[in-house]
Symmetry: none
Subunit: 283 residues, 2 copies
DNA sequence: TGACATATGGAATGAAAATTCCATATTGAC
DNA sequence: GTCAATATGGAATTTTCATTCCATATGTCA
């Protein structure tokens, strides 16, 4: 008996399981077929609900679910359920799958190339979440705000600094007055002191938040300068002192976070603002 | 007591809960704030995992999770968790649909949002070409070169400057000696004059090539400093004076080129070099 | 500084849910 | 039609997990 129900190979992901179910569906006993059909038709239910309630919905006994799972090499229903949950998570990014394919294709590639692929993958994943994370109306508000601002002050340190340096470059080319701080030491606060209510500030900071950035943003806000910020958590110190804020979470490879999403966001903001100004000027 | 912790209105969906958390986060005690931050930053984890493991990840006790839930009017953690699960279901069901909307540059969304999507797309396309464009062996050579270099000099201006400023930041964190030029005016050449054959330089420049970058790279090469470069054409002035060079073409939106591929490349190079050094030091 | 209120950690408890087990039913072979 | 093998239902068991409770710590106001 031990030979028949303890198959040596439990599927490792949902696709493998799905294939296995389809293959053996015809040769399964009645109740197990019922379970198979239910599982493939309602994978989300399997992921979330309890064995008892799933059993009720599929018109079988809880023990049948366990037997079903064991039939496919799992220890019990719970371990099968994990696959259904993993599927739900991965659904958001199909890029991991692509990465797996790449690695399978050429497993002999050097470690460095693996790192490169990892960052490419992280970039894709980050970009994927960006469009979903940004509320169109709020984005529009931010564009409006900057389009009508006299001078745009860019606040960013450390890891976020590339973002603001790109924006400073692009705004410069597009003839939008802007000043980036965080470049040299010391004088930042003096520069920021120039800002008034008719200007606007854009602050970027990701965890662990550079304390100066937060302090500077707060100071600006206190003086009536509208602050828009880009950060990675609603709990960022930037969020609380900003008139408008955006939450963008970058995916990472080996603990090093991508910058793709933030960069794309910065580009879009920059170009949108310039475009809006051009329009308004033309009227 | 019953009046304070049994708020009459438990939120009915995730958005309400989110709003409630944000509203009250400032007045919450320390551990509950911790939970709030974790919950909003990692909603998927809350949906799937068990109270104990979530508590572990958020560095609190399981009981704190329960208290947190009760604080917001739920009977216990489990009922709060239901909202997170419901959210995940709704999201996955509408995911494909939303993706389609984004991909067909739908005119329904605002112009600014169209621009954002354009840059997201450009980022994806750039990343797609990157892995294919980079020759693993050449990449490995570059990593070796920098791993054995004494000091790494980073040369980049204008649009490429964000790349080098990121690398300078990351190398700094990883304890790899490096110096970025192009930051302030004038002194660049003096700094570069410090470089010798045991150092190495990394130059980044895209069309239209900043003439100073090319000149600096050439000067370095002439003095025997090995130069690695990242550029967008085999005819780039950088290519001819570099020992190793990589050609990466960024996709663009409305004439504005993405930086995603170059960034990913820079990250991979940085991390690979640091990793190699760490290995070599360990021997 | 002391007293009170609130917050926190951690073990004890109790509930819920998965799994096992066994008696019974069904199927298929001879 | 009988026997054996397999499948099934349902109760019993065990495990897992959320919750509660209490002792201790931390902070607050007088």
């Amino acid at each position: 008996m031990a030979a028949t129900d303890t198959l040596p190979a439990p599927p490792e992901d949902f696709d493998q399981l799905r294939a296995a179910i389809l293959e053996r569906k015809a040769s399964l006993p009645k109740r197990l077929t019922q379970v198979a059909a239910y599982a493939l038709d309602n994978p989300d239910e399997i992921a979330f609900r309890t064995a008892a309630s799933i059993a009720g919905a599929a018109k079988v006994q809880p023990s049948t679910l366990v037997r079903f799972a064991q039939q496919f090499g799992f220890e019990g229903f719970s371990s099968l359920q994990l696959l259904f949950r993993a599927r739900l998570r991965q659904r958001t990014s199909s890029y991991d799958e692509r990465l797996r394919l790449i690695e399978q294709d050429s497993p002999a590639v050097s470690e460095s190339m693996g790192i490169l692929n990892g960052f490419v993958n992280a970039g894709h994943r980050s970009l994927d979440t960006l469009s979903k994370a940004v509320d169109p109306d709020v984005f529009e508000q931010a564009v409006q705000l900057f389009a009508h601002a006299e001078t745009i002050f860019l606040i960013a340190k450390r890891r976020s600094y590339p973002i603001s340096s790109y924006m400073a470059y692009a705004f410069g080319k597009l003839r939008v007055k802007c000043i980036a701080v965080g470049t040299a030491a010391g004088i930042d606060d003096d520069v920021l002191a120039l800002a008034g209510p008719r200007d606007a500030a854009f602050a970027v900071s990701f965890s662990p938040y550079a304390s100066e950035s937060a302090a500077q943003a707060r100071a600006m806000a206190a003086r009536g300068v509208p602050v828009v910020s880009l950060t990675d958590s609603a709990f960022s110190p930037l969020a609380e002192c900003s008139k408008i804020w955006f939450e963008v979470v970058e995916a990472d490879h080996a603990g090093f976070r991508s910058l793709s999403a933030s960069m794309a966001f910065a580009m879009a903001l920059t170009v949108s603002v310039a475009e809006k100004r051009r329009r308004d000027a033309g009227r």
